[in-house]
C-alpha cells in the first residue's frame, strides 16, 4: 500500500499520463440482438424474455440487421473502415446473469476498425484514435439482496433480471491517447461527451449514462516523463457519468504516481470507481485473468456487409457534431468558447431552431443563453425543457426588431409565455405590452416633458444634444416603459430643433 500522497500537479511534473477508453453503448433498436423481445427500459423484471434471450436449451440466435446497420453507422461516423466479412465469437465464462454462460461478441474480427474522433478542449483539438467498434449482446442484471454493500459479497441471495440480456451492445475502444499531459482527464471527458453527441445525432442510442445505456471503462497508465516507454495500465470500471470519467483519470494519475514514487510497481488490474469518494479501489487482478476461450460462433453465419449497403448507410448519415460545429462557428461568427458554452449548456438545438425560425444568431443566443438560461437554472431544468418553443423566442425577437417591444417588455412577454399565457402575440395583447409607437400620443407626453424641463430644453436647442436624455427618460417613465426610446429621442430632437 502507498503511504505518500502526491498532488496532481506534482505527479505531472514527473509522469506522462496515457489513457484509453472502452465505451459500451446499448443500441436503441426496437428489439433485441438475436430475438424479437422488446428492449424497452424499466419493464417488470423478466417480462421481456423468450427462449432465445434466456438461452434455453435448443434455442438459437438470429441476427438483428438493424443492430448491424447501427454499428456500421457508428463506425462510419468514427471514420473507421468497415469489415467486408467478419464473424461473431463466443466469449466463454460463467456468471449467473449470462443465460448461456457465454456472450456472443466479436473477438479478432470486429465490424469496424481503425478510425478517430476529434475532440476539442479549451480550443485545442485532440485526435483520439479508435481501435475498433464491435457488436455484442448485453447480459442480464443481478440484484444482490442482503448484505451491506449491494454487492455479491455478503449478500444473502441474488435475483436476476434477464430483460437486458440480449440487448445489442456496441463496444467502442480507443487507441491509447498519449501526449495530453495535465489535460488528460478533461480530454477523456471531452471524448465521451463528443462520442455521446455523435451517437445521439446518429439516433442509434438514447445514450443515457444514468440508465446504463452508455458505460465507460477507463484505462490509465503513467510513464516517467521523457522515458518514451509506456507504463502498466489499470482498467477502471463502473465509470458512469461524464464527471466520473474525468475524476477517474485524475485519481488514477495521483494514485499511480504515489505508487511509482515509492519505487513500487503498478499492477495490471481492474479497479472500481466510487462516485462518493472519486477514488478507485482494486478489483480482480488481470494477471490471474480468466481465459475466455474465444471461438467463432457456430450458430451464426458470417456478416458480410456489401459495399452498396455501406455506401447507402454512409449517404444517410446525418450531420455529425464536428461538422455542425464547424458550420455554426462559421455561419454565426462564433468563438470556440461561445460555441462550447452553448453546447455544454444544452442550448445548441434550440438556438439553431430559433435561427431557423427567423431570429438572428446573435439574438437567438442572447435570449437562450441569457434570460432563458437563467430561468432554467432557477427552476433546475435543462434550457431545452422550458415550456417555450424556439418559434416563440424567434417571434419575441422579431417583435423587438420591429420596435413593437423593447428588451424590458420582451422579458415580460417571455414571462407570460413561460407562465402558459399563450403565444408571444397573445401575451402582448393580454398584458397590453406593446411599445407606444403612435407619434401623436408620444408628442403629447414630449410636450409635457419639455414644459416641465425648460432649462434642459434650452440646452438641447443650443446644440447640447446629449442633454435630451433627461426629456426622453421622462417620456419613457410617463408611458410606463411602453415608449420606444429611440423614436422618442428622434421626436424630441425634431421638436427642439
Amino acid at each position: 500500500m502507498t503511504t505518500v500522497s502526491v498532488t496532481y500537479e506534482e505527479a505531472l511534473t514527473r509522469y506522462e499520463p496515457v489513457f484509453g477508453l472502452e465505451t459500451h453503448v446499448e443500441l436503441g433498436t426496437r428489439t433485441k440482438m438475436f430475438c424479437g423481445c422488446l428492449t424497452t427500459f424499466g419493464g417488470e423484471p423478466n417480462s421481456q424474455v423468450c427462449p432465445v434471450c434466456l438461452g434455453l436449451p435448443g434455442s438459437l440466435p438470429v441476427m438483428n440487421r438493424i443492430a448491424i446497420e447501427y454499428t456500421i453507422k457508428i463506425g462510419l461516423a468514427l471514420n473507421c473502415s468497415i469489415a467486408s466479412w467478419c464473424r461473431f465469437a463466443r466469449k466463454n465464462y460463467f456468471y449467473p446473469d449470462m443465460p448461456k454462460n457465454f456472450q456472443i461478441s466479436q473477438y479478432d474480427e470486429p465490424l469496424c476498425l481503425d478510425g478517430y474522433l476529434d475532440v476539442s478542449v479549451n480550443g485545442q483539438t485532440v485526435r483520439v484514435g479508435i481501435e475498433r467498434v464491435h457488436l455484442e449482446e448485453d447480459t442480464g442484471k443481478s440484484l444482490h439482496i442482503g448484505g451491506a454493500t449491494g454487492r455479491i459479497q455478503g449478500a444473502e441471495y441474488s435475483l436476476v433480471d434477464y430483460n437486458r440480456a440480449g440487448i445489442p451492445l456496441v463496444e467502442i475502444v480507443t487507441k491509447p491517447v498519449p501526449g495530453t499531459g495535465s489535460l488528460a482527464p478533461e480530454v477523456a471527458r471531452a471524448y465521451v461527451t463528443e462520442l455521446r453527441d455523435v451517437l445521439r445525432s446518429l439516433g442509434v442510442s438514447d445514450v443515457r449514462m444514468e440508465e446504463g445505456s452508455l458505460r465507460c471503462d477507463v484505462n490509465t497508465s503513467l510513464s516517467p516523463l521523457g522515458s518514451g516507454a509506456w507504463g502498466t495500465r489499470t482498467e477502471t470500471k463502473n465509470v458512469n457519468s461524464l464527471r466520473s470519467v474525468e475524476r477517474a483519470v485524475h485519481s488514477e494519475i495521483e494514485r499511480q504516481a504515489a505508487v511509482l514514487d515509492e519505487g513500487g510497481r503498478v499492477i495490471q488490474e481492474t479497479r472500481h470507481f466510487h462516485e462518493e469518494s472519486g477514488e478507485t479501489t482494486s478489483g480482480r487482478s488481470k494477471e490471474e485473468a480468466q481465459d475466455y476461450r474465444y471461438f467463432p460462433e457456430p450458430d451464426l453465419v458470417p456478416v458480410a456487409p456489401d459495399a452498396a449497403w455501406v455506401d447507402a448507410i454512409r449517404t444517410s448519415l446525418p450531420e455529425l457534431p464536428s461538422a455542425r460545429r464547424a458550420r455554426l462557428i462559421a455561419a454565426w461568427s462564433l468563438s470556440d468558447l461561445e460555441f462550447e458554452s452553448m453546447r455544454n449548456g444544452g442550448a445548441l438545438d434550440v438556438v439553431e431552431a430559433t435561427v431557423v425560425a427567423g431570429a438572428s444568431p446573435r439574438d437567438a443566443q442572447k435570449w437562450w443563453m441569457g434570460e432563458l438560461a437563467r430561468r432554467a437554472n432557477d427552476s433546475g431544468v435543462e434550457v431545452s425543457a422550458l415550456p417555450i418553443t424556439p418559434a416563440d423566442v424567434a417571434r419575441v425577437s422579431a417583435l423587438v426588431s420591429a420596435g413593437t417591444l423593447n428588451d424590458r417588455l420582451a422579458r415580460e412577454v417571455l414571462d407570460g409565455v413561460l407562465a402558459g399565457e399563450g403565444t408571444p402575440d397573445q401575451v402582448v395583447e393580454k398584458r397590453g405590452l406593446a411599445v407606444v409607437s403612435d407619434d401623436s400620443a408620444l408628442l403629447a407626453a414630449i410636450d409635457e416633458a419639455i414644459t416641465a424641463n425648460p432649462e434642459v430644453a434650452e440646452k438641447v436647442r443650443s446644440g447640447k444634444v446629449a442633454a435630451s436624455g433627461v426629456i426622453v427618460g421622462a417620456v419613457v417613465r410617463a408611458t410606463r416603459g411602453q415608449a420606444d426610446a429611440a423614436r422618442v429621442r428622434e421626436l424630441v430632437l425634431e421638436r427642439l430643433s
Binding site: P51, L54, G55, L56, P57, G58, S59, L60, P61, V62, M63, R90, N92, F94, Y95, P96, P99, K100, N101, F102, I152, S158, V160, D291, R293, Y294, F295, P298, D299, L300, V301
Partner: protein, 495 residues
C-alpha cells in the same frame, strides 16, 4: 407379435388414415400397446406420452371428420429423440441434469411434424447430449437392439433406431453429429438419413456441436424415411444456418429408385484393419448389385478422411464445452449444492453430467484454451477444409460415394463402455460427411454371416443433393426385397 397396424409402413398408415380406413386413434393405440408389450425389454423410450399422443390422434380424426384434408403424416406415430424441445413432454437429452425439464417451446422440426398431422408417441433414449455410439452413455440406462437384446442399438440416436426397428413407431427423429443417425440405423437394420447441414432446422434441438448437428429421419423403408425427411426439412428463419433453398425432391427420388448410368465411388480409405468380415462381404455384394443395376462403380481416394476422426474429436468437444455451459442449475433442470453461485454451478455440473460428457467438456475446454487454440481447434478446422476439398474433388468424378456406415455390426452392451477410443471408431466412416456438411444415409443390405446382425450401406452425396441418396437407396432396397422376398426386419429375432 406386432399387430397388423404396427407392421404397416408410414406411407400405408397415412393413406389408410386419410382414406378413413382406420382412425389415427386406433393406429396410435396399437403402437402404445406394442410399446407396453415390448419396450420393457428394448427400452427405446424415456417417456411415452400416451395421453398427448391419443389427444393428437383424435385431433387428426376430428380434422378428417370436418372434411379437411390431412397432412402427409396423417395419424402416423413418430418417436422423437429426447433432445427435440417438445411442449407438454419432458426433454432430458438422456441427462440427469435435465431430468423433468419440460420446454416452454417447440422445436421447428417437431412443429412441422405435428403440422403434417403426425403423432408424437414419445421421446426416445439417447447417449447423454448425443455423445456416444451405443446409448450406454444415457443417464437412464441403455437401450437394446431389437435384433439381439444383449447388443447395443448404436447411438447416439439408438432409442429412435430401436423404436422403429421394434415396430414401436412407424417413423422416428434423430440427430446426427458424427454418425448418430446412420450408425444406429445400420446396426438396427433400418434406414436413417443425415440431411444436408442446414437442410433441417436446429431450432429447438438441444445442441451438442452446433456446426455438425443435423436432425434427420429414421424409417423402416426408404420411402417412409424420405417422407419424414420432406416434412421436417426446409428453410427456418429461426435458425441462421438454415439454408434458404427448396427441399431436394427426396420423396420423388425414393419412388423412383434407379442407378442406371450413375457414377458411384467407393471410398478406398474405409476398408482394411478393424472392418468386420461380414460387413465387408455384404458391402462387396452391394457393390456387385449396384453394378448389376447399371451403376458405374469406381474407387475414389479421399486421403484426408483418415484425419476426420481426430479433427472431429477436437471440433465437436470444443463446441460442446461452450454449448453445455448453460446447464448450471441457475434457471432450469437439476440444482445441487448450496452456498455461492459458483459452488452451486460446480456441484450441479459434477452431479448432473455423466463421465463421457465431462470428458468431452474437458477436451473441448482444453482445445480452445489460450495458447492451444491454434494447435488444436485451429488445426482441426484446417483439416475440415481439406476434407471438404476431398469431397469436392470426389464429386467431380462420381455422383455419390459409398462405404460401410460403421466398421462392425452391433456390439455387446458393456463391450466398449470402458474404452472410449474403441467407441469413437464406430463413427469413423460417418464423420467426414458431418465435417463437410453434406448429405448421407444408411440403408440395410443384409446380415453379417458370422452373427446374423444387420449391415448397412453408407451413401454420401454433395450438399443439397439429398435426393441422390434416396435414388440409390430405393434401388438397393427394391433389389434386395425381391431377392429376400420380405423385409429384412422380419428376420429380427430379438423380440
Amino acid at each position: 407379435m406386432a399387430s397388423e397396424l404396427t407392421r404397416k409402413t408410414a406411407t400405408e398408415l397415412a393413406a389408410a388414415v386419410s382414406g378413413g380406413e382406420v382412425s389415427a386413434a386406433e393406429v396410435t393405440q396399437a403402437h402404445l400397446d406394442r410399446i407396453a408389450e415390448v419396450d420393457g425389454r428394448v427400452k427405446a423410450f424415456l417417456h411415452v406420452s400416451a395421453d398427448n399422443a391419443l389427444a393428437a390422434a383424435r385431433a387428426v380424426d376430428d380434422k378428417r371428420a370436418r372434411g379437411e384434408e390431412l397432412g402427409p403424416l396423417a395419424g402416423v406415430p413418430v418417436a422423437v429423440k429426447d433432445l427435440f424441445a417438445t411442449v407438454g413432454m419432458p426433454t432430458t437429452c438422456g441427462s440427469k441434469i435435465l431430468q423433468g425439464w419440460v420446454p416452454p417451446y417447440e422445436s421447428t422440426v417437431t412443429a412441422r411434424l405435428r403440422q403434417a398431422d403426425g403423432v408424437i408417441i414419445g421421446k426416445t433414449n439417447m447417449d447423454e447430449f448425443a455423445m456416444g455410439s451405443s446409448t450406454e452413455n444415457s443417464g437412464y440406462g441403455p437401450s437394446r437392439n431389437p435384433w439381439d437384446l444383449a447388443k447395443v442399438p448404436g447411438g447416439s440416436s439408438g432409442g429412435s433406431a430401436a423404436a422403429v426397428a421394434a415396430h414401436l413407431a412407424a417413423l422416428s427423429l434423430g440427430t446426427d453429429t458424427g454418425g448418430s443417425i446412420r450408425q444406429p440405423a445400420a446396426v438396427c437394420g433400418v434406414v436413417g438419413t443425415k440431411p444436408t447441414y442446414g437442410g433441417s432446422s436446429r431450432y429447438g434441438v438441444v445442441a451438442f456441436a452446433s456446426s455438425l448437428d443435423t436432425p434427420g429421419p429414421f424409417g423402416r423403408t426408404v420411402l417412409d424415411t424420405a417422407l419424414l425427411h420432406q416434412v421436417m426439412s426446409g428453410h427456418d428463419p429461426m435458425d441462421a444456418t438454415s439454408i434458404d433453398a427448396p427441399v431436394p425432391p427426396v420423396v420423388e427420388a425414393a419412388r423412383h429408385g434407379d442407378v442406371a448410368g450413375m457414377r458411384i465411388g467407393i471410398v478406398s480409405e474405409f476398408a482394411g484393419d478393424g472392418y468386420q468380415p461380414g460387413v465387408m462381404s455384404r458391402f462387396a455384394e452391394a457393390v456387385e448389385l449396384l453394378e448389376a443395376l447399371g451403376a458405374k462403380v469406381t474407387e475414389v481416394s479421399c486421403p484426408h478422411f483418415t484425419y476426420a476422426l481426430p479433427a472431429y474429436y477436437l471440433i465437436a468437444p470444443s463446441e460442446a464445452s461452450s454449448n453445455l455451459a448453460r446447464f448450471d442449475g441457475m434457471r432450469y433442470g437439476l440444482r445441487s449444492g448450496s452456498g455461492s453461485a459458483e459452488e452451486v454451478m460446480a456441484v450441479t455440473r459434477a452431479a448432473g453430467f455423466g463421465p463421457e460428457v465431462k470428458r468431452r467438456i474437458m477436451l473441448g475446454a482444453y482445445a480452445l484454451s489460450s495458447g492451444y487454440y491454434d494447435a488444436y481447434y485451429g488445426k482441426a478446422q484446417q483439416v475440415r477444409t481439406l476434407i471438404i476439398r476431398d469431397f469436392e474433388a470426389a464429386f467431380e468424378q462420381v455422383d455419390v460415394l459409398i462405404s460401410p456406415p460403421t466398421p462392425t455390426t452391433a456390439f455387446d452392451i458393456g463391450e466398449r463402455a470402458d474404452d472410449p477410443m474403441a467407441m469413437y471408431l464406430a463413427d469413423l466412416c460417418t464423420i467426414p460427411s458431418n465435417l463437410a456438411g453434406n448429405a448421407a444415409l444408411s440403408v440395410p443390405i443384409g446380415l453379417a454371416p458370422e452373427n446374423g446382425l444387420p449391415v448397412g450401406l453408407h451413401v454420401m452425396a454433395p450438399p443439397l443433393a439429398d435426393d441422390r441418396l434416396y435414388r440409390v437407396a430405393a434401388a438397393v432396397e427394391a433389389a434386395y426385397q425381391s431377392r429376400w422376398g420380405h423385409p429384412l426386419l422380419d428376420e429380427a429375432k430379438g423380440l
